[in-house]
Amino acid sequence: MVRRGTGQALLYLHGIDGLTRWPEGLGELESSFEIVAPSAPGFGNSSGLGHLEDVHDVAIFYQDLLDALHLKEVAVVGHSLGGMFAAELAAAAPSRVSKLILVAPFGLWLDESPVADLVGALRKNRIAMAWGNPAGAAALLAPPASDEEALERDLVETQHLISSGKFLWGVPDHGLRKRLHRITAKTLVVWGNDDAVMGPRYGEVFASRISGSELRVIPRCGHQVIDEQPLVFSRMATDFLHNR
């Protein structure tokens, strides 16, 4: 669990990379919010993946976590895999989520533009799929300094993909569509215009099924929104969370 910043508590649910990087866009929020960022079970040093069979278990898990943190009600930001988890939490326990920002969340499937297989792709293809601007992924693409480093990097990434894959493998649709109407939190849906995993049309469908929600599509931006457009994202998020 990482806790950074000061101010109103903000639960951040990460994407398929876990918390290997602290996205620049979150850094921008630290001056106004205390970001509570748990590593999900199966990511980083967090155990417990075996206890989560499905998204319903995940929704219970995060309610348990909020209980343990004595957070009765909290604003939630979820990206990618974490976006799906955030939506499921907000739908299962509407009173626990004060405001919700869904950043390119998984959870829907459109036959006319199927979700790309991010988790099942070769590494170089996965990075190309996730990042609208490959320059942003330079660190990921840099060759490791040694065989040992390459192995360790590979094993950490493999574990994160195993954990992500538990929920995203194959056709990542676990019925969220029929639960979105339960979300009462004021919701902002954020999408990168060039998201190659799921296009902005997914954002439209999310927004259309969450009443009172708003969709913002960011130009020159892929799936890794918070990394790729940190300033645009943080300004958008800050305005939304402060009711502006």
Partner: protein, 431 residues
């Protein structure tokens, strides 16, 4: 030493430019390339070839399971084994193997294997692989995070179902059944001998130890690269208190026998090139899903210099001659082949050789020649190996005189007998 004739039943008619025009022979291979009429003749020919293998003296007739692939077309190995059960009388049905992870509920596999064992008179030699990533994770969409756990639960359920004498309920994580009650139960007690085909996972050895299953491993590279797999396996067995026995291990070999070493280079070149460059032209995306091997297994094999996906890609770039040079295949005169198989078997300590003597787009004529030469000239030279050990992992069928003969039970004339093994057994083992 036991010898299996292991057929993969590949599609023989991929276009010559397949490798250039298409990205994969597996998962995304366009099924418009499958001609059902050609398939009709091909599958029937392949079944004939397996029956011939019994006639010339192979112990086991091998089939297996693959999906969405031109490389191996048997999406149901149990169906193929049943076809053989009726037209063979002596050889074992080596189903290497049937997926228990991908069948829901897994008792369907228990039932089918029981049917096979009953109809064949107790000749089933059964493999339960966790599976290859192309089939398991991509074709049938099993998330890597749960595949092995699902396999283990299915195995427990199947073993219980085979031996239960009364109905029971099963409240598992993946399968929940109020009534589990196999009507047709296997002839072999407690069940057909079980094998775990694998090669990439440390966890498979633990399963073998727990259930006393034999281990069949496959590499698509020089057989020496299989040493870490087999060493780790025997080490695990030793730690589990299982006495050493080479019959608890087997391996598969692509093999071509000709009159001379030089002839083997040319005789099998077309078929070998087709196998490696077309049939094994698999989109690398599908070779290893993240989590197909656990993090633990990845680390174990990486530390022993093994990179499975890399092996595969390297191998697919090679043709027959390069593969022969690299030791991925064994080919030559009967003496050469016997010598190399002897060395391999002694080093790896395997008591079962599952020979791939048909491969690629090999003609019917060459297939028959290879099977015949191997049976007549190679098997006798190796048969005596490991004779000091007892094989507990081959079937114990009903005695021949107690077994049904197809065609004799519904009235009418008896059919002509099946062939007897060709040649005598000459025991020859260099020491």
């Amino acid at each position: 030493m036991k010898f299996g004739y292991f057929h993969l039943m590949p599609y023989a008619y991929l276009p010559a430019d397949f490798r250039d025009r298409y990205t994969s022979s597996w998962v995304t291979v366009p099924n418009a390339l499958f001609d059902p009429e050609k398939g009709h003749h091909l599958f029937n020919r392949y079944l004939d070839e397996l029956e011939y293998a019994e006639q010339v003296g192979f112990d086991d007739l091998g089939v297996n399971e693959h999906h969405m692939s031109a490389y191996g077309q048997m999406s149901s190995p149990n169906l193929m084994a049943m076809a053989l059960a009726r037209r063979t009388t002596r050889a074992n049905l080596l189903v290497m193997g049937a997926s228990i992870t991908l069948y829901d509920p897994p008792i369907r596999v228990a039932e089918e294997v029981a049917l096979l064992d009953v109809v064949s008179g107790g000749r089933v030699k059964m493999g339960f692989p966790v599976g290859i990533s192309m089939d398991l994770n991509y074709a049938y969409g099993m998330p890597p995070a749960i595949a092995r756990e699902k396999y283990e639960e299915a195995l427990e359920l199947i073993l219980r179902a085979w031996s239960a004498k009364e109905p029971f309920s099963w409240n598992g994580r993946f399968t929940k059944l109020r009534h589990v009650n196999l009507w047709a139960r296997p002839i072999q007690k407690p069940h057909p001998p079980l094998w775990a085909p694998g090669g990439n996972s440390v966890e498979t050895w633990d399963i073998c130890a727990k259930h006393d299953m034999a281990y069949a491993f496959f590499t698509f590279s020089n057989w020496r690269k299989g040493v870490p797999s087999v060493e780790g396996y025997f080490e695990t067995m030793d730690k589990a208190g299982k006495p050493f026995n080479p019959y608890r291990a087997g391996t598969s070999v692509i093999c071509g026998v000709s009159e001379t070493d030089a002839a083997a280079e040319t005789d099998y070149q077309e078929a070998g090139d087709y196998l490696f460059r077309s049939l094994l032209h698999v989109d690398p995306t599908f070779l290893e899903a993240p989590g197909f091997r656990s993090v633990h297994s990845k680390r174990y094999f990486a530390q022993r210099g093994q990179d499975r996906a890399k092996n595969w890609s390297v191998q697919s770039d090679r043709g027959w001659l390069a593969s022969l040079k690299a030791g991925t295949v064994i080919a030559g005169s009967p003496e050469t082949v016997a010598q190399q198989l002897y060395e391999m078997s002694k080093t790896l300590k395997v008591g079962h050789l599952m020979m791939q003597l048909h491969f690629g787009n090999m003609s019917a004529e060459l297939t028959r020649k290879n099977a015949t030469l191997f049976a007549k000239e190679v098997i006798p030279r190796l048969r005596g190996l490991w004779s000091e050990y007892e094989d507990h992992w081959s079937p114990r069928p009903l005695p021949a005189e107690d077994r049904a003969v197809a065609g004799r039970h519904a009235g009418g004339d008896a059919p002509s007998g099946t062939g007897e093994p060709v040649g005598t057994v000459a025991v020859w083992c260099p020491e």
